[in-house]
Symmetry: C3
Subunit: 391 residues, 3 copies
């Protein structure tokens, strides 16, 4: 099996090098519309490599042995996503032009893939995981292209394209691969793992607190307006933390792991703010949304997961449905609502940045909201179909 | 007790959401006098969430179980400090306007609160800690407002407002809560904890080395002059490290924990440089100050702590008096001296940035020095009174 | 021995403070040719303190007890390197002028020293290590001055000046200090250490992934062109990871430590890209170079290390020859090739940035390549002589 993996890696890497040699060139000039300030801004966040690292940290929580596999997946996805994305966006004269932007997008894709692997971790071997990745990257890029470029949906933090897509894709793969007997044993092991790994958790949570807020805001507000997306994400993180402390003692017995729940709440709040973060115009809106997001993983793991497991035979190793899936969907609905209610009064100059089509008058706020809403079933459909196909 | 905590969190969070809904709005325009370059600069340092994380790391050293509590405190303080600060600084027409600056200041406040909790950690329960936080944030913001806005004291890195205030506030609370029997047992446990937690320490120290120097410099020197505050802090960190290696073998037996002492020296050096960092004009001044700062925690823990414990019944779980209190006071005295001696010759164009009042001629250098000096007893008074009241 | 160390530290620190007081002043004005954008750029990467921290992390892997020594070395080297560098570069009127650039260069020097200590770690005591450091910093700065300032060699990421110099200097010291009996015992302990420290490794690798790509690119491409050096380093990191997964199952049995090998491959890829990173003009070149770099540490530790150990009696505690030495040499050869083949067509406007002499016509591309090549034996010679002398 290890030699199989070795051979597959060799084939893929050689294939990638050949494809890169044939098609990919660096952008000789600066990307149009990307002035020095903005570039600075996106580099400042060290996006390249940041989020994968975060999610590796996140996965490390469950299964230390699989960190190596995750790093392999990240290393492969980055190359593959740059290639696929290039074919969709910038294929001209038989050449693809890549630049810093390609790498940032490739990292968003990596996040979606890592979320998906959270549902099947420990149940498929690395070879299967590489093949799953191959398909998921393609469908992810297609979905992102349709949503962001063709439909003009706003989703800077990836509530929909990253969190929701990744979660439901992974869940579908997990459903198809369902094997009743193996899963029972697996689950007990998971429980045991949980107990042992309480120590590295604070580090993971702290990383998220530090890095994510600036990450969420990258695509839109660099240096031009007050960074509301960052502030919104911060307020929502704070509120989701308090929500965990409120609900947890009611739902659980003494002695459970605070840190796991805090990290779940943090991730849920981030998934929620992905789309709405740049659209919220008041701090109390962010507090309320974060508060609700913090309740979702706790309620979900208590009531929804057992139901999914027994009725739909959905096995979800890392609870990604509660942490990424549901908050992503809720964040999309919130974003839809906010887009539909957007007025020039409330946004002022920021309307131009957040909803350029609305500001230019080529689209009404309601139209934008409708588009955001349509993007949700489309993403779910693509994720589900893709997951089935891959499974 | 857990349900009590849950209820209190619920009440506070609802109260905060209502207050935010009634009063707080985002700043629709960019803050005046804050051009794109500066904003960049402060974001670059990821202040939002950085220092809390650092101090959570610092606390993690002593008591892993209390990390969850610390995160709760951070999540609450950030919201509460934004609100209180808004009422003091920008209350107009019944509305508070918040922006990126509010969040940065809220984080400074979080640091002071976490320093204070270092003195009482493990002796009060989370509910008591939340109530203590409620009061401390209010008094901290009041003190900061009087010092920085009314008196025009310069304290960009918070030697006085953060380190000294936090340390003495915590010590007073600790003094009032003194219970002879419990503390004896406590102490033994602390010793045991120390032994076990040697491993995560390097990480904490390294974080401080990486992030603090850029943090110290944020408020003043962004992109306009050579960043002397950063360089000063670096030189002083290096010198304090050597000081630890010089004094430690003389004071202690073989086999004690290097890393704990190195981290203490690092923190002391940072507390020392908080005020003086931007005022020192020569590297050797920074080396000398850092060298002295590195000696303080070692000498303090050897000679001063036993004295305080036996005579004044001051219980100091994490040694915050030696690490934050004393170096903060020394840093303030150094800052006073430097301010009093400031001349246009030595500072050149930087005088405008470091001491704007002196540069504009509305105040003499000696006047500035006197103000800096007066700020010290005022802060000590407010911290002591506040601590007594809270206790 | 501990009192000896204490005394030596005291002497050195007092000496440094006196020398700083006599000679060193801050640059009163902004460095010429360093506009606000660039300064921003270099601060953004928090270079000051970043790389030392990374390499401390790297060393932490082998021997937890030596972390304190490494921090001592870093604290001393930073001060000493600023001084030596000042004497070489900016000695005027009996004064040295230092600025942000001095600190960045001091950190590069720290990296070279830490790489060297990797070869002798655990075999010499801290006093010897401080003395070795004293000499190495001087020779390093001399070598760097000759290469970069006098000869005009391009080596922004330090393939040659940092990785190759550090590795061969350390190896020579190790060779001179060779003691057959002690080393045998030592080695067994190393093996045991390896087994125990698998857990903190992922963190180290992740740090490298996050921070190094932006570090490599600092000196050249700040805000002026598309950051190809960053992208090249990323592609090469991804390829070297896949290379590890390809070769490792063939060379090793089941059950070895993935993470150690992944970190080695990462470091090798970084050493390889130090010089060539800014010169490669196509992504597939970076992929290929990274792929080869990933193979080096695996092949080296399997075939070359036993040979060196038995024939040349070269003891290499941390395998620095495979991780830093060889990839550094290969990177230099690659850089030479690329410099010799550089044409205005392929580089466009970037020629001015990467090879200013060639762009101005004062030197041909072949001349630049020849210079890059000459720099290799010169560095090896200085490193070897310096190592012998120190040993």
């Amino acid at each position: 099996s290890r030699l199989q993996l070795s051979g597959l890696c060799f084939l893929l890497q050689i294939l990638l090098i050949i494809l890169f040699a044939l098609f990919v060139r660096y952008n000789p000039e600066r990307s149009p519309g990307l002035d020095s300030q903005e570039l600075n801004c996106s580099w400042r966040n060290r996006d390249l490599g940041l989020q994968p690292a975060l999610l590796v940290t996140f996965l490390a929580r469950y299964r230390l042995g699989s960190v190596a596999t995750s790093i392999l997946v990240v290393a492969f996805v980055i190359q593959w996503a740059v290639l696929i994305r290039g074919f969709l966006y910038s294929f001209q004269n038989g050449k693809i032009v890549v630049g810093a932007q390609s790498m940032v997008s490739a990292n968003l894709c990596t996040m979606a893939v890592l979320i998906s692997t959270g549902a099947v971790l420990g149940r498929i071997n690395p070879v299967q995981m590489l093949l799953m990745t191959l398909l998921e990257v393609t469908i992810f890029t297609l979905n992102e292209f349709i949503l962001l470029s063709l439909m003009g949906v706003r989703d800077s933090g990836g509530s929909l394209t990253v969190h929701t897509f990744g979660a439901y894709f992974g869940l579908m793969v997990s459903r198809i691969l369902h094997q009743p007997r193996v899963d029972g044993r697996q689950e007990e092991q998971d429980q045991a793992q949980h107990q042992n790994l309480a120590v590295p958790l604070p580090t993971g949570t702290i990383y998220l607190w530090i890095f994510w807020p600036s990450f969420t805001s990258v695509p839109t507000f660099c240096g031009t307006t007050e960074p509301w997306a960052v502030l919104n994400t911060h307020f929502s993180l704070a509120a989701s933390t308090l929500a965990t402390f409120i609900l947890s003692p009611i739902l659980h017995e003494e002695g459970m792991l605070w840190m796991v729940q805090l990290q779940d709440a943090t991730l849920a709040s981030v998934a929620m703010m992905g789309m709405a973060g740049e659209m919220l115009v008041t701090p109390f809106g962010a507090l309320t949304a974060g508060f609700l997001a913090g309740l979702v993983p706790l309620l979900g793991s208590r009531f929804l997961t057992p139901f999914l497991r027994s009725r739909l035979k959905l096995q979800d190793t890392c609870g990604i449905h509660n942490i990424h899936g549901l908050p992503g969907v809720l964040g999309t609905l919130l974003g839809t609502l906010l887009a539909a209610l957007a007025t020039a009064d409330a946004y002022g100059d920021r309307l131009q940045v957040v909803f350029p089509e609305v500001a230019q008058g080529t689209r009404t706020a309601q139209g934008q909201g409708l588009l955001q809403l349509c993007a949700l079933p489309l993403t779910l459909l693509l994720a589900t179909l893709g997951g089935c196909l891959t499974g």
